[in-house]
Symmetry: C3
Subunit: 408 residues, 3 copies
């Protein structure tokens, strides 16, 4: 009787398992996953898909020294991204990224397309087609989610846009390289009636040390840019490490008769447990024709950061990655707390061009409540602004900027 | 032998169950769900994600009495939303909402960002950061999916935009409150070079009765607005309860020298089974300087609605919610049918300002085919328009508006 | 003992199966699926949802014969779509499609809404409300993912926009029809203050042969258009079968006093195994008032295509569908290879209007690496351009265009 019972039961179990298997088979090759709820995704052996986004909310207050200046205290949605990425047929990746946050004030053009590319990874190096970041600059290449300060240092004045191009890249634990040729940005501010120029940009990084909490990073990058699409014109300008205002303290105005520009970038960064030190130096050389003088413009920054709660900055493939707090807010923890100090300088004065020479120091505090929620406060002091003849000459601006950020 | 067989079988079953468990484990903490197919979502214990959208298609015909007026019969995509919301680490909510439908005609600025916020619910009250609706006005706070008429009543002339702010809110079965401070909208039409103003807005609701089909709601709201960001300028204007045309029958034109504005709102609503009565009154007081006269402008509406098919309006957290028909079209039912009648009045005439005094009556029919598909027809009659000196003075416009709506 | 063991084991198995069933029950009516990783979707009995997108990247080089012409070599994101479609309550379909790629140069208006509609399929014919393609033109109605050449033939000069309307449609294996009335596009370039016109457009197709790799298709379409919304103005112009440049070789300039326009379209296509031949002819008759002359403008194309790897073009519901390569790149295959040759002609010269008469020949190669990744190269030769008085008269432009495309 026991025996019969067992046989009956297994028969029933058999049927129920068959039903379960059938249900799951409909999902063959597809397993829905989420990383801490940060996105909706599926991933099979040969396919993956991930839908995510990010929101960065800023508020800023300015205390300018000049009379009559109006830096415009206020709020701003700095970034509002939709982000889709995936893999098809194992060797083909793609990514679409759109920023719905309209630029403020004068940059009224809607330029929302960020990453938009297709990549083949069937052999090394990977080949990427489409719009992506030109491989130049450690802070620039780090996701805006993971930079230590709210805005980039003054080297950002030389940061190239994302452009449509073709790139080769590969990386391992100790080194990485990328090399690309690029045309125009997808939504060029320059009328595209003229021929596009082609940029050539490359970057090489070497990390003699790379283990958890123990990193030494060195980087070298170069860029050759011919501004043919803009009729030989270029303009370098930059906000005072805060993006709520529209005032650009340094500004070369339009530089004409530019034949080509060479950019050189040097990077170094270290992580020793909770401490990190990082710096970059960028030099640009503009060759000009029609009697216009050649120009040398440069910028650099260096900063130190420290996690009070013991985390370490995370390094991967030649850039810095997401911070995961040891104890999460909402699960009984206090999150991760980080303090940081940056010195930043740009020199846009050369020969007849007086774009301004600016020195800033920034004190930052980051509170990572969860791996995908961060609150940041930055105090920025303009130490010096040497721009004779301009209303902002000698402006020693104080700014406070707050950011609330989520990604999923 | 039977025994051996049973042992063999359980061995096999064991393996199959293990395989199933392994497959499902990849989904740990993640269960994909859908509410009547209305969206794609997952929800686990601590995480949820929901992707949805809405489409509202309008067509309108106008029969104006004035010669030479051209109200522009036609069609319009009124709203085309992408809507993403979720929860991470149990206590953190977020929502992104973007409207891809460009405004028609004169409002050529693309202002698509709707909700964009992060919320912490780890304690009461909930704290919200980002862009969301200022808590003012029962019809305004009700989702456009669930309002009884196609457009809001004339009180909408005083409806504040969604703005970037910080809010506190809490609610229970019988009461709710929200309080917030707000800066500018994310995509301000006002150049953001000047300092932003800060609004303070609060709302309190009390529902002495709140059970299914049996509701009494009372609400009180106040708003203090300083138009510093627009240099002390403000403008109140409103279309004739129909949004396909660009004609704004009442319009104060730009009011200058406005120091600050106080808004006061009173709300009352009841539900008795299929019948509902609702009304709102809004009063604004503008304090002006430089010798400009202070102004008092006001608007109110009241309406009654009746479900012929026996449904009741659904009330939750101080606002009205989605209607679920008793019998769904496509599943043998006829959906839910509702008729409604609204009287609406705005008075923008005060002292030297002749923005117009308008009285409308609207007859509406709603057909809820499914919980997420609605067809609506509104007939709007302008009973009186008192705006001496303007071409629309005494215009007694008749309008018919049709809407088709889906959300998912 | 064995018996006891078996009983214990089945008890344990019973519990584990119960747990699995409970987990899966949470997914009741919802099965997540993916078609070769091409999108994220769920589909139950009465509901489905699919989120997808497409990216088309173009690069082009031009070799014009005229002095001083600047066609603008370069790159472009041609299309960047987000695409959401679904079914609710079995009989209701919807689709939203948005193109994030801004048009280049002169067409600076952001017009991103593509499909945006709701459809009821509870009986035949299906009823569609919203914005969709007017049913006119075989190449036009074929998805841009599946057209044989990178851009459409010169008949595209007469292609109607997607417009907001109401349509009826049905189809079977051998025939299909659609009929619709249409107002304005969702984001009209014409100010919508005036009354909208209403288009009436219909199309009928018949396929006496329709089996795999064996198709004969015949089509007939008509359109009646009254340009009331644009005050009786119309303009026909077209790029030289390449969309990176902004130069429009043929251009009637604004035609005024247009009362109405009749469009007539004839289509024919055949598939015999790897070979396919297709052609279209479009004739337009403009009736004008206020003494302006009536006009007759026309265009046609014909092409032949051949799969070197043996695939056949796929035909369904009166249009052509996606190609699935026999052997996929990344899975040991070489994909599908197709060559094609098109002759295309448009005549915009009639009476006093000299918009130009253009003849092009295009040689195309398509490499379908996977069912959703395609690389294409087109060489386009302008054989003749007869446009006396215009700088482009007699221009015999050579163009090379490359496209990389993914959809998911």
């Amino acid at each position: 009787q026991s025996l019969t019972l067992a046989a009956d039961e297994t028969a029933t179990l058999e049927q129920r398992i068959q039903a379960l298997e059938k249900q799951l088979q409909a999902n063959a090759g597809l397993v829905a996953t989420t990383t801490n709820g940060r996105s909706l995704a599926f991933a099979g052996d040969d396919y993956s898909f991930q839908l995510g986004g990010r929101l960065q909310l800023d508020a800023a207050a300015y205390d300018p020294k000049q009379e009559g200046n109006d830096f415009g205290d206020g709020t701003r949605i700095r970034r509002l991204f939709l982000d889709i990425r995936g893999t098809v047929y194992e060797s083909w990746n793609y990514r679409f990224q759109y920023d719905f946050a309209r630029p403020s004030g004068s940059d009224s053009a809607a330029r929302g397309i960020r990453d938009a590319w297709i990549q083949y990874t069937g052999f090394a190096p990977a080949i990427t087609f489409g719009q992506f970041k030109e491989p130049f600059g450690l802070e620039h290449l780090t996701s805006s989610l993971n930079t230590t300060f709210i805005e980039l240092g003054l080297t950002n004045v030389f940061t190239p846009d994302r452009r449509i191009g073709l790139g080769l890249s590969d990386n391992s634990r100790h080194w990485s390289y990328s090399l690309g040729v690029f045309g125009e940005p997808a939504e060029g501010d320059v009328p595209d009636e003229g021929h596009e120029s082609w940029d050539i940009t490359g970057r090489l990084t070497y990390a003699p040390l790379n283990s958890d909490g123990n990193v030494v990073h060195l980087g070298l990058a170069g860029r050759q840019h011919t501004p043919e699409d803009s009729g030989g014109s270029l303009r370098f300008r930059e906000r005072p490490e805060s993006n709520v205002t529209d005032v650009q303290l340094i500004d070369t105005d339009t530089l004409t008769n530019v034949k080509d520009v060479q950019y050189l970038g040097l990077e170094a960064a270290t992580v020793f447990g909770p401490l990190s030190i990082q710096g970059e130096w960028v030099d640009t050389h503009l060759s000009r024709d029609s009697g216009a003088e050649n120009l040398n413009l440069s910028a650099w920054y260096t900063y130190a950061s420290l996690f009070l709660t013991g985390e370490s900055r995370s390094y991967k493939n030649g850039i810095f990655d997401r911070i995961t707090p040891k104890a999460i807010v909402g699960q009984g923890g206090i999150g991760a707390w980080q303090v940081a100090l940056r010195y930043s300088k740009a020199d846009l004065n050369d020969g007849p061009v007086i774009g301004g020479e600016e020195e800033d120091v920034t004190l930052g505090v980051n509170w990572y409540a969860t791996p995908n929620i961060r609150f940041a406060a930055n105090y920025i002091k303009v130490l010096e602004l040497d721009r004779p003849g301009n209303r902002y000459h000698n402006e020693k601006l104080d700014s406070v900027v707050l950011r609330t950020q989520i990604d999923f």
